[in-house]
């Protein structure tokens, strides 16, 4: 089983990202579970959402304490929240930032990947909503889900033009992370 923790701020669509990831993983043939950290939602406040992926039925109902992956939607959270807490040493943290991994004040033995998801979102979607972009980056960096399933989940959730733009942003982030 792989466990994922998503950090964001209220309004950045972290819970939606978790749901879309669970839907995409299911389409890829896995069992999945997504749930929010059950806080009282406030715009701008730090929030968390969790995802579990497994090839067996997922029965565990606790929060995620030792994630295999951490997704950080907003790099300013690094100063407010211990985003790498419990992250497995052989895990990976993916951060939305324009900076390079070595420039970030992170205490972790895990791999650190960065992507300027806000820039991609602004360029392709036209809004600084980077949750779907981060899923594209996650698909590329982790290989746990396919970009195609993420795009299908995104198109299904946001019908029409919005969904298409988001799907393009997913692909763009995926390509950027995977490289040529």
């Amino acid at each position: 089983m792989k466990e994922i923790r998503i950090h964001g701020r209220g309004g950045q669509g972290s819970v939606t990202a978790a749901e879309l990831l669970a839907i995409a993983a299911f389409e890829d043939g896995m069992y999945s579970q997504a749930f929010p950290s059950f806080g009282v939602e406030r715009r701008g406040a730090p929030v968390m959402a969790f995802v579990r992926l497994s090839d067996k039925t997922i029965r565990l109902r606790s929060q995620v304490y030792e994630p295999d992956y951490v997704i950080v939607q907003d790099a300013t959270l690094i100063e407010a929240v211990d985003v790498a807490r419990g992250l497995k040493a052989d895990g990976m943290i993916i951060i939305n930032t324009e900076h390079n991994p070595e420039d970030l004040p992170l205490k972790t033995k895990a791999a650190v990947r960065t992507i300027d998801a806000t820039r991609i979102a602004l360029d392709i979607i036209g809004k600084p909503i980077m949750n779907t972009v981060m899923l594209g980056a996650f698909a590329g960096a982790s290989g746990e889900v396919t970009a195609e399933s993420i795009k299908n989940a995104v198109r299904d959730r946001f019908p029409g033009k919005v969904g298409e733009k988001n799907a393009d942003a997913v692909q763009s982030a995926y390509d950027m992370v995977v490289g040529p």
């Binding site: 839907i23 299911f26 069992y31 999945s32 579970q33 749930f35 059950f38 029965r59 565990l60 606790s62």
Partner: protein, 401 residues
């Protein structure tokens, strides 16, 4: 019609899944009060009605008291009825709950289990429904979203059985199950229609053939009415089993009848829980068994009627029983399930120690490590006997001392 709703296996929110299951049961009347604490369950159902996807009459009322009161009238006139509520909303229904059961109206309600104020807290525990255990409602607790869907359909079959004719609460853990997205088989209308026949009320309000429901009775008769409710509760035991088995025949899924067991046959330590915590416990049992520990799990699916005989049978060979209660019966120092299990065993010849753990109140998370510590305490009881009969788990001692 309900053909507009997608069936089949997909990832959806728990609340949507139960709304879908309710829709497949073709309720005539849905009544709810749409304010916090409420859930997506009735929001989704009102959407189905607004979209014309289901044919139900949706009544938006001004309080939970009214929500259930509206169902009293609807159910007495022969309608299949549904509502959902949680925590304070259920408490506000308290008076009406007894009326529904006393009038033998087979309403079905989803209880999204949440804590009771004060202090104000919107998170999960079982205090709300456990506090209504004497109301005459059958109470079924579910472990995951699929069981929630399937038990919702079973609930109507049980409630409307003429030999039962009692209301049923299907209790699901707030947030943990109501807000989770996970794969679930959404039921097909035709399959549900085959499993669940239309509601044939035992007795209906009819202007052409006037009758009284819930009328005044003096001491000459009151007690006998209460006895009849208890008898119906007794009869519901076999009906809960039948509904689970016939569901298995029709849909291929089975969750136990009044209880379910997991590796209890040879277990020295038996963990007992209700609701979604059971899932976590299954993982813990598998893990500890792989390391040689003799641990098993008893899941209480029906808390009312209480499965005393089944519990006695399952625990008869154990060396210790650990009851994990997401509620506290204040003044007893332990949760309601723990008290009732001790009562169930007292007059038997089983002398197994029963220890209680009040856990997860107000949404306090229950990590695997916490459960492992409980099993460690159980091992101590086997070696040294009971030192502490019941305790609050993961208390912040610095705050309360």
């Amino acid at each position: 019609m309900s053909g507009k709703l997608k069936s089949g296996r997909q990832v959806v929110e728990g609340s949507y899944a139960v709304a879908h299951a309710v829709a497949m049961c073709r309720p005539d009347v849905i009544s709810a009060y749409p304010i916090t604490p409420q859930t997506h369950v009735v929001e989704d159902l009102s959407q189905f009605v607004a979209d014309g996807a289901i044919n139900s009459r949706y009544i938006n009322v001004e309080s939970e008291f009214s929500a259930l009161s509206a169902l009293v009238g609807a159910s007495a006139s022969g309608a299949r009825t549904y509502s959902a509520t949680t925590s304070q909303g259920l408490a506000l229904m308290h008076e009406v709950l007894f009326n529904v059961a006393g009038m033998r109206l087979p309403a079905v309600m989803t209880i999204v289990n949440r804590s009771m104020s004060a202090p104000i807290n919107i998170w999960n525990d079982h205090q709300d429904s456990m506090a209504e255990r004497d109301s005459g409602w059958i109470q079924l607790y579910v472990e995951d979203v699929q069981e929630l869907v399937d038990t919702t359909v079973q609930a109507y079959l049980i409630a409307e059985d003429p030999e039962v004719s009692l209301p049923v609460m299907v209790c699901m853990d707030g947030f943990i199950l109501s807000h989770v997205f996970e794969p679930v088989d959404l039921l097909d209308q035709k399959a549900v229609d085959e499993y669940l026949p239309p509601f044939e009320p035992v007795s209906v309000l009819d202007p052409d053939n006037p009758k009284s429901f819930g009328m005044f009775v003096d001491p000459e008769y009151y007690m006998d009415f209460r006895y009849l409710v208890e008898q119906a509760m007794e009869r519901s035991r076999s009906k809960i089993q039948d509904a689970a088995r016939s569901f298995e025949s029709a849909f291929g899924r089975y969750y136990g009848d009044l209880i379910d067991t997991y590796h209890t046959d040879d277990a020295e330590i038996i963990l007992v829980a209700v609701g979604s915590l059971v899932g976590t416990l299954r993982d813990v049992v598998d893990d500890l068994r792989s390391k040689g520990a003799s641990v098993g799990l008893l899941k209480i699916r029906a808390f009312r009627p209480f499965p005393a005989d089944a519990i006695a049978e399952v625990t008869s060979g154990a060396k210790v029983v650990c009851v994990l209660d997401k509620n506290i019966s204040l003044g007893t120092g332990e949760g309601a399930v723990c008290t009732e299990i001790k009562a169930a065993l007292y007059n038997s010849d089983i002398r197994v120690p029963v220890i209680g753990f009040v856990i997860g109140l107000g949404g306090r998370d229950i990590p695997v490590s916490t459960v492992q510590r409980i099993v460690g305490k159980a091992e101590d009881v086997i070696k040294h006997g009971i030192k502490v009969e019941s305790e609050f788990v993961d208390l912040k001692h610095s705050l309360v001392s």
